[in-house]
């Protein structure tokens, strides 16, 4: 029988994987994917709690998160396209005009 802890640990691991991806990967799209992974890990947490607590709030939250993630994806990809048009790269190593 899967307990709440299993879900929480899984989501924790997923969240960590996502975070590590953000830190390690160099392609902006992949990084964004990793962020999505983090968000979905959170969603999993919400759902698990919601189920465990018998409370629907968590599930509603998840809907919002999904919607927002979609909006973010749209904006994000647009930004990347704009950047790519000027720089012809979306490698984060190249996003370094401004520093210090």
């Amino acid at each position: 029988m899967l307990s709440l802890h299993h879900y929480l640990i899984l989501s924790g691991i997923l969240f960590s994987i996502g975070a590590m991806g953000v830190l390690i990967r160099r392609n902006a799209i992949v990084i964004f994917m990793c962020v999505e992974l983090m968000l979905n890990a959170v969603n999993l947490t919400f759902i698990a709690f919601s189920r465990y607590l018998g409370n629907i709030d968590g599930q509603i939250f998840v809907f919002f998160v999904m919607t927002v993630a979609a909006a973010e994806a749209a904006v994000g990809l647009a930004l990347m396209i704009a950047f790519y048009k000027n720089r012809e790269s979306i490698d984060v190593e190249d996003i370094n005009l401004m520093k210090l």
């Binding site: 830190l23 984060v92 190593e93 401004m98 520093k99």
Partner: protein, 668 residues
């Protein structure tokens, strides 16, 4: 008349203001000089009036205080602008205004044609005012105004020829050395004020109030501290060891200045101050001894230097230092009246000597100028045989020289002999008395020697003057010679108001008027003195006669030596010099005291100041300030490299921050 005492300093003040502000516009020397002279002469007249009134009053009614206005009042401290008239201050104002008037008159002739003639008279008047404040002040602070005021005027007048570097240097030196003394004066004042206030609840700096409270003061202890501090002040003003070196340099000023300030009046302020506070000084046997020893030492020390100087004014300057030493010797041995008496006679003969030397210089200068010669007009080696061309100057000069040398019948004899006798006989310093007398006697011998050396080199022998200039030499005008004659007369007869009792008894019991006159002033001091007098003193008439004779002999010895060396056998000085070159060089160079002071104080001070500025202030103090700024700036330039511009670095910092926070809270 007493009520009008404020007029005395007022007249010179008015003279100063008129000449100071309008002098440049007036231009006419006669008017400027007239104003200046009349101003001080007016004071002289008022002083005479006061003297007459004081004589007419009984001895117990001769103290008078006049408050002009309250000056500094803060809490228990009160200093009024107020004057004190008593026999002592009247003697002083008579000397200051009398000699002052003569010197003003003299200056009209002497300063004729000088640039800044008006300036000279303005300063001279200002000086007189300050000096009168000094002697008239009824409290230490008014005295201190005058005390510093005369220092200021001395500064201004020494630096009168300000375009000469030496004059500027001398002026500054005089002021700074005086300031060292003033520092002592101030600390002495504070000590006395604080002790009396704190321990006896007499918060005062008023002389008469201190006098009344003087019985509360202990013998020695704090009084020694206070009086020694005051004495430091006196050494500064009166050019005693160790602060005497400014006075010879002060000869950079015009000669009337030397006569008035650096001979007759200002330099005697220290003596006056001790006299004024005799009731305090005498309470400290140690201080009295210090004063006596310093006085005696200065007397002999300056006299030795005087023997080897060639500048006519410098000889007189060292002579002044030496004579002041005599006065301090008198004060230190409790012979207050004698000290003041010598102060007065010294004012007469030394003023006359200075003015006489001025007359010589004036003539020499004129002559050399017309001969287009660049010889030094003040160097005695360029003079000689002047008695023929300048008879009046010569005679007055000779009279004064006899007076200073202590030849019986002239004023200096009476006062100097009184000092020597009292130094010997007063019961304060035990065995030291004889030593003091001995030093004084030797110094007197030196005095006679160098003074006659001066006379012989200047007025006798063959003329060493540039031959071309010789024809231009002539006697100075009346405006110069009249003061000479008056002062010469006073130098001759001024001593008779203070005949020693011994001599007076010979002539049917003529009392010592001068001592009698000052008796109420010093009565209290003498009483305190008896408190610790060691023995009854030596009141042996025969001994007194003997010592008097001895001092006459000593003077004659000095004169004889001078005569031998500078008239009869003129090679002797050269021989002497070549026999003892080191000694001569040391004496000629004033025992290298100036160099010693430079080495000990001036140069280290400058070096230390320079170190503090460049080494400490800029590098360390400001270095720390700028260093802090630099460190912050450095951090700034270092920390900005944390902003690498890479997203993953930023994300890493965020993640690391989160982990650190979580870790801290979970595992703490």
């Amino acid at each position: 008349m007493f009520d009008n005492v404020w007029l005395i300093p007022l007249f010179p003040l008015i003279g100063f203001l008129i000449n100071g502000f309008l002098g440049k516009k007036i231009k006419n020397e006669a008017i400027i000089g007239g104003i200046g002279t009349l101003a001080i002469f007016g004071s002289f007249l008022v002083s005479c009036g006061i003297l007459i009134e004081m004589i007419s009053r009984g001895p117990e009614n001769r103290v008078f205080e006049k408050v002009l206005f309250p000056w500094i009042h803060a809490g228990n401290f009160k200093a009024d602008m107020a004057f004190l008239l008593d026999p002592l201050s009247v003697v002083m104002i008579m000397v200051v205004t009398g000699v002052g008037s003569l010197i003003h008159l003299y200056s009209i002739g002497y300063m004729h044609g000088e640039e800044g003639f008006y300036r000279f008279f303005a300063y001279l008047n200002l000086f007189c005012m300050s000096m009168l404040l000094l002697v008239l002040g009824n409290n230490m602070l008014v005295m201190f105004i005058g005390w510093e005021g005369v220092g200021l005027c001395s500064y201004l007048l020494i630096g009168y020829y300000f375009h000469k570097k030496s004059a500027g240097d001398a002026a500054k030196k005089a002021f700074v050395m005086n300031r060292v003394g003033d520092f002592g004066f101030l600390v002495g004042l504070f000590t006395l004020y604080w002790w009396l206030g704190d321990n006896a609840n007499v918060w005062t700096i008023n002389f008469m109030e201190i006098k009344k409270a003087a019985h509360l003061l202990p013998y020695g202890g704090v009084v020694t501290v206070a009086t020694l501090c005051f004495f430091v002040g006196a050494t500064g003003k009166s050019a005693q060891i160790p602060l005497f070196t400014w006075l010879p340099d002060a000869m950079e000023g015009p000669t009337p200045v030397s006569a008035l300030i650096h001979a007759a009046t200002m330099v005697t302020a220290g003596v006056y101050m001790i006299g004024r506070m005799s009731f305090v000084f005498i309470k400290s046997p140690d201080t009295m001894m210090v004063i006596a020893v310093v006085g005696a030492a200065t007397a002999i020390f300056a006299a030795t230097i005087g023997t080897a100087q060639n500048d006519i004014k410098r000889v007189l300057a060292y002579s002044t230092v030496s004579q002041l030493g005599f006065m301090f010797l008198a004060m230190g041995t409790g012979a207050f009246a004698a000290g003041i008496f010598h102060l007065m006679t010294h004012a007469f003969f030394k003023a006359c000597l200075f003015l006489g030397s001025g007359s010589v210089i004036h003539a020499m200068h004129y002559a050399l100028h017309h001969a287009h010669s660049h010889d030094d007009a003040q160097d005695m080696r360029n003079m000689g045989g002047l008695r023929k061309s300048m008879p009046i100057t010569f005679i007055t000069f000779l009279v004064s020289t006899i007076a200073i040398s202590g030849i019986p019948g002239f004023s200096g004899f009476f006062s100097k002999d009184e000092i020597l006798w009292q130094a010997f006989s007063n019961p304060y310093h035990g065995g030291l008395n004889i030593v003091l007398w001995g030093i004084g006697a030797v110094a007197a011998c030196f005095t006679a020697f160098y003074m006659f050396r001066l006379v012989f080199m200047t007025f006798y022998g063959e003329s060493r003057i540039n031959p071309k200039a010789k024809s231009h030499l002539h006697e100075s005008p009346l405006v110069i010679t009249i003061p000479l004659m008056v002062l010469g007369f006073l130098a001759a007869v001024g001593g008779y108001i203070g005949l020693p009792k011994l001599v007076g008894d010979l002539f049917g019991g003529i009392p010592n008027y001068f001592e009698q006159w000052l008796e109420p002033v010093f009565e209290q001091a003498q009483e305190y003195g008896h408190h610790y007098a060691q023995s009854g003193g030596h009141h042996n008439v025969a001994l007194e006669w003997g010592l008097m004779g001895a001092s006459v002999v000593i003077a004659l010895v000095g004169i004889t030596i001078a005569f031998t060396m500078y008239v009869k056998n003129t090679e002797l000085p050269g021989k002497f010099t070549s026999t003892f070159p080191a000694l001569h060089r040391a004496v000629y160079n004033k025992w290298y005291i100036d160099e010693l002071y430079d080495f000990l104080f001036v140069n280290p001070c400058k070096a230390f100041g320079n170190f503090l500025w460049k080494g400490f202030d800029v590098l360390v103090v400001d270095g720390i300030v700028n260093g802090v700024a630099a460190v912050v700036k450095g951090w700034s330039s270092a920390f900005r490299y944390t902003e690498t511009g890479y997203v993953h670095n930023y994300a890493f910092v965020m993640a690391a921050g989160t982990v650190a926070i979580l870790g801290y809270y979970i595992f703490r």
